[in-house]
Symmetry: C2
Subunit: 363 residues, 2 copies
């Protein structure tokens, strides 16, 4: 109505009296000046403070905000406010479906609580993981969630725990998913039990010689799942010689080449367990390329039950983990309760989803 800028075009002249040129963002002071109120009042209107403000002033402020397209500077707000708003998550790689699912759960709960989620990809690099902890701490996040396998690396574990503890000291909350060796609340999937169950499934189908395509040795997820398979083997009076466990990198291509090695070195194998679905998919691809029928000649099983498991041919037998729920629970813990309480641990179950890729061994 009375503004010098009748249309919505960005006002060039007025911003930040210092300088004169409009470069640089519009500040609260600009808004206050234009609305002819104090910054205090402008702030109150904008943030919906409980303190009452007269209708007229309120309207003037809102008008000014609109005209100037004002957006508060989050850094300044973060500094001035006491409470933390964002939450940080460190995963190996969000674009990996495993983490995508977990992240979905984290995201949902975070959003429900009005929190902003900052996602960091460590790409399985411990050094980067350490850096990200520092970064998130610097960002003053309210909580840090660490998802994905831990490492068999004492020095690293000690260091990251020290950092996490320092973070907790300063009032932050830590929760972890699938890492039992850390500070903080934990959501632990039944990796070992899952390994046991899938091997059990294969032994019961009649297989005698199971081969395993494992992930990197340094990851606890690898060793946990492997331990379960070993246990099942023992229960059935079978051995799992080292020769029949090949380590790879949890990638599709790694699964393919490992299949080649495994079958070359141990031709007696009639069933392959890959410790994640990506590698299982790679195994399937290699077997198809080499005209080895699945499950006719060789059975294949994966781990995680990613969406792709039901799209490959044959559809993939695998171990299902409730990934989204795990994320949701980790975030719930991260956002609930005081910082000081005994460490909570929630365990989640694994179940076998039998599909087409597993069957009895060839007669």
């Amino acid at each position: 109505m009375d503004g010098p800028e009748p249309d919505a075009g960005p006002p060039a002249g007025e911003a930040s009296a210092r300088g004169g040129i409009a470069r640089g963002a519009v500040t609260l002071a600009d808004v206050a000046r234009r609305a002819k109120v104090s910054p205090a009042t402008a702030s109150r209107v904008i943030n919906g403070s409980t303190k009452p403000v007269a209708e007229e002033l309120r309207a003037r402020v809102l008008r000014a905000v609109e005209d100037l397209r004002y957006v508060p500077n989050a850094h300044a707000q973060g500094l001035a406010r006491s409470h933390r708003i964002a939450v940080g998550v460190i995963v190996h790689d969000v674009s990996d479906p495993y983490f995508a699912e977990i992240t979905r759960g984290l995201q949902r709960v975070a959003t429900e609580h009005g929190r902003l989620l900052v996602i960091c990809n460590s790409y399985r690099d411990p050094a980067r993981e350490l850096e990200y902890v520092e970064l998130l701490r610097a960002q003053q996040v309210a909580a840090i969630v660490l998802a994905g396998s831990g490492y068999h690396d004492v020095a690293f574990t000690k260091e990251i725990n020290a950092k996490l503890r320092a973070y907790q000291q300063s009032g932050g909350h830590v929760s972890v998913i699938g890492r039992h060796e850390h500070v903080g609340d934990a959501v632990l999937p039944a990796n070992e039990e899952g390994g046991r169950l899938i091997a059990e499934h294969l032994y019961e189908l009649g297989h005698k010689h199971i081969g395993v395509i494992a992930g990197p040795k340094v990851l606890t997820t690898t060793t946990d799942r492997l331990a379960g398979i070993r246990r099942a083997a023992k229960d059935h009076g079978r051995a799992l010689p080292a020769r029949r466990v090949v380590h790879s990198d949890f990638s599709r291509d790694g699964g393919a080449t490992s299949t080649a090695h495994l079958l070359h070195d141990s031709p007696e194998v009639t069933a392959i367990v890959a410790l994640n679905d990506s590698m299982a998919v790679g195994a399937l691809a290699w077997l198809r390329a080499h005209k080895i029928s699945v499950p006719g000649q060789v059975s294949v099983a994966g781990f995680d039950d990613m969406p792709v498991a039901s799209d490959v041919t044959p559809t993939l037998t695998t171990v299902r983990l409730p990934l989204t729920e795990m994320g949701a629970r980790a975030m719930s813990m991260a956002l609930s309760g005081s910082a000081i309480h005994p460490t909570r641990i929630e365990r989640v179950e694994a179940i076998v989803v039998a599909r087409e890729s597993s069957g009895p061994p060839p007669a």
Copy 2:
């Protein structure tokens, strides 16, 4: 050596003289106090300022940082420093492989430039997209990258452009991927040409009746790709009646149900083009479930060439877009050059990758 805390345990007593209790983060002032230097000097040491500082003081500061596990408050730094460090990205959904690939490219270049990437998922909700623009603006990011299809929605486009323009006014850089209707530099994939090429491929195999499983009507990506298919049809003297274009939601399940509808309504169809790979995979699944051989009875083609395309059976013929490179180029533009320059547009090519899912129509 002379610190009161000989071991690495977190020092509880000293932080932030105000209060006495150690709750709350360690500040630069704490570090300075412990090192017996001024905050200015501490800051210089920590940030590796160009200004020389005597070796002894430097060592004392570093020691204090170590002892106190000090991490600078990023908000305070953001406020005090002039230059912006983070870069924002708005995508539909990072866990969608299409965006995962793009994000990988964005990430790489951002990291090369020492920038932190803030990723926001809009889940194809225009309102959320608007919110995120504000949020990123509030975070004072150096650049905003908008990836993923635009919307056929004039009001929305106008509003988001207004916001983006305001952001540019204040010195921010905007670049977009696959959206031609926006403010800012753009990386534009050859969506229309890709559509033309894939249809061309099918017509040349001898197909006469092509059906299309399209994405949501409101997305420009959908209409662009469709336009290319229409053009190819016209070039071959063929029509593409509305009946043979069914709209879905770019999801796997949407692809499956759309296949059912399409073949029910238009049994003459011998080739199906899905406008992304997820829907193509869904189509494949439906066809397999209904014992319709691919490509024997029906050919199927996708779009994007996501990794899964070579894992399904039969492997999927599709249109490849250099997604990672698109991300990298968008980020390069976002981080290069001054804010004031003519809008740059970079176009990237699409090529057909013929695999097993397409072949001649049944005789």
